[in-house]
Amino acid sequence: MIRVFGYLAWRSTRNRLARQLRHLRSPRYAAALLLGLAYLWFMVVAQRPASSATNLADARWLELVGALALLGAVAWGWIFGVERRVLAFSPAEVTFLFSGPVSRRGLIQFKLLHSQLLILFNALLWTLILSRERFGASPWLRVVSIWVLLTTLSFHRLGASFVRTSLAEHGRLGARHRIVSLGVLGVVLIALTWSIADALPRIVEARADSPFSFLAAVGEAASQPLPTALTYPFRLMVRPLTAHTLADWLDALWPALILMMLHYIWVVRSDSAFEEAAAQVSLRRARALSENPRRLASVLPASTTPPLFRLAPSGWPASAILWKNLVAVTRKRRVRNAALALAMAGAVVTVLSFEPHGTLAGIAGWLLVFWGASLIVLGPQWVRNDLRGDLPKLDLLRSYPLAGWSVVLAEVAASTLLLTAIQLSLLVIGYLAFLGNDSMYPGLEARTLALAAAFLFLPGINLLGMLIQNGAALLYPGWVRLGSGRAGGVEALGQNFLMMVAFIALLVGVLALPVAISGGAFLLLRRGIDGWAALPAATLAFLVMAYEAALLVGWLGRVFERTDPASAGIGG
């Protein structure tokens, strides 16, 4: 059976790669490849390596920072969950493998091994990206270290999502099957809360002194017994990356490998338990229904929620696409619950901000502002209810009586609106978190003006960001992942990182003009109206961005009209 799986994986990958390469016959794709290679060369070869290897103290810091970053990534997976996309079977795999003489565990192992191709590719990418950083023993050993790290992280996130799914779908029955995982999680949570509560006052105090004191306080807090124990598995995962000699590397590798194997066993066993739990719940549900058929409505999921607003039959025709994309978001996510949670968070942080020290509200405020600002870069890759989601239905889009520019505008408007709403909500709550803080610099007036300016310029920035992302999908449909989900998870971390850097470069390019014009206007007007100059400057920035966006929409609209679904390899 392994040979059959190997044949399927190898031939599929080879044929997919051949198909991707065939796109190079188009000058557009060839130019993109040349640009990509030049970009990699610039990052890898042209940049001088750091002058000296890191010393032992640096290695310890790297290990600590890496371990904390992994802890954050793992915590994110537990809190927000991840789709079991590694185990997402294609329709063909379902048809041929599920009905074939293959055990369920064999199928899972096949998919896990299949995901290794992507992880290996990304391990190579990361080795290239990090090649000018002189930590670790050698690039070849680094590939192996990164592969072990990414694989372990991928297995962990998968296992975490099994536990979450099991609890969500099967309640107490699922919990019974997850008793060991939940026990470990509980102990970790208690230890984590204890450690943070213990270390927070000293870290906050040190933050007020200097950045160095702050780092020293973080380092000291991390070296206490409980945090050391808590971060130990993560340190084990990072340690091979920071080893200097082959002997050190070998010493660091085997614990990391054992950790990886333990995760593998956890995932494979978890899924079997998940299947059993699912079967038991199905049986119980069937029994309940046979006793009382009227309960059918209560056990089936609610199919639809009413849309936020009804679509009128008259008006700008392309707005139907905007409406459709917004309806999809409200059906996929619990928008009302999220809005309620945000409103409650706003009320809580406002109250907390009037506390004597307001430390908690301050930390929450900075986190929210940082989160909102980081969405300028991350948001356009994360929110995808636009052309990227609809391009697989290009046949349908092209049959509509709409000009290309109106399709592009309506598509990107939906994701821009959603992203801007999320960002502004975060910034407003962040603003409220500092509301009672009289001693803060900048003062309340400046903060209020900055928030008002954000309302003016963020829609423009987001629109340009979305146009870049949608433009990439429209120009390179053969290379950009289409559909509602992007290539995600730790498996695709390397390629997503490279895409993000390229995106940032393009975004900086299109923002240069509005920033220069509005910055100049701000400096000129500030002499007369002080900080209030932020508002006309932000308005000017918005107008320049709107002009740029109009040019981009017109151009992408023409590209849309010229895109042949058959030649581009998309659509029906």
């Binding site: 199919s303 639809t304 849309p307 009804r310 679509l311 009128a312 039959p313 008259s314 008006g315 025709p317 392309a318 707005s319 139907a320 696409i321 409406w323 459709k324 309806v327 999809a328 059906r331 996929k332 239905k393 290009l394 046949d395 349908l396 092209r398 049959s399 509509y400 009586p401 709409l402 000009a403 009209e561 010229r562 042949d564 679904p565 058959a566 030649s567 659509g571 029906g572």
Partner: protein, 245 residues
Amino acid sequence: MIEVHGLQKLYGDFPAVQGLSFQVAPGEVLGLVGPNGAGKTTTIRSIAGIIIPSHGRIRIAGHDLATDPVAAKAALAFIPDEPHLFEYLTVEEHLRFIARLYSVGDVSAKIPVLLDELDLSDKRHALPGELSRGMKQKLAIACGLLHEPRALLLDEPLTGLDPVGIRRMKATIMRRAAAGAAIILSSHLLHLVEEICTRLLIMQRGKVVAFGTIAEIVASRPDLGTRRLEDVFLALIGQEEASER
């Protein structure tokens, strides 16, 4: 009215459709038949404005598809063999979405009638994921008919429909033709084509093999001594292959 002049579509060097010219008048139902890979779907997708032709001109209701695509597409409807639906819109919301796209007035009155005609009234609040294959096809058909198109393009419209659905669909096509729509129907089901098409265009390897009424096409092969379209169709395809050898 659908007018096609010198349509050609090349994929690289491969000609999927070559020099195709025909017209479909209001009230007429043109059957597009041919073996797999004959170029039927390419032809129908070119007329729908989905594929960009390499050469030739297409006019829908007097509007040139290349120079005035919005007006041309507003007059037509394309119903593909695989229904493409939006997974997060209900049946009724699909129709409201289409109504806005095509600026259909009085949609609240039209939707119940159409849903009733296609036996979808009970499913008006269901998402596509809750529909069977046949019901999805009916919804795609309903979306195509809502704006009362003057040109209707159907690619294997009966795929997935049950016998009742097939009967209703045939009646719907006839009714639309009687109301003055120009219809092109691509299908492998020769008995369907025989039953509802007023003319036939047989294609093979991107070229026209025969074009005319069914009686004319059957009469063109007296040597076969048959009046069955299926025999004539197979002979025409075989003849074409023989002549190319």
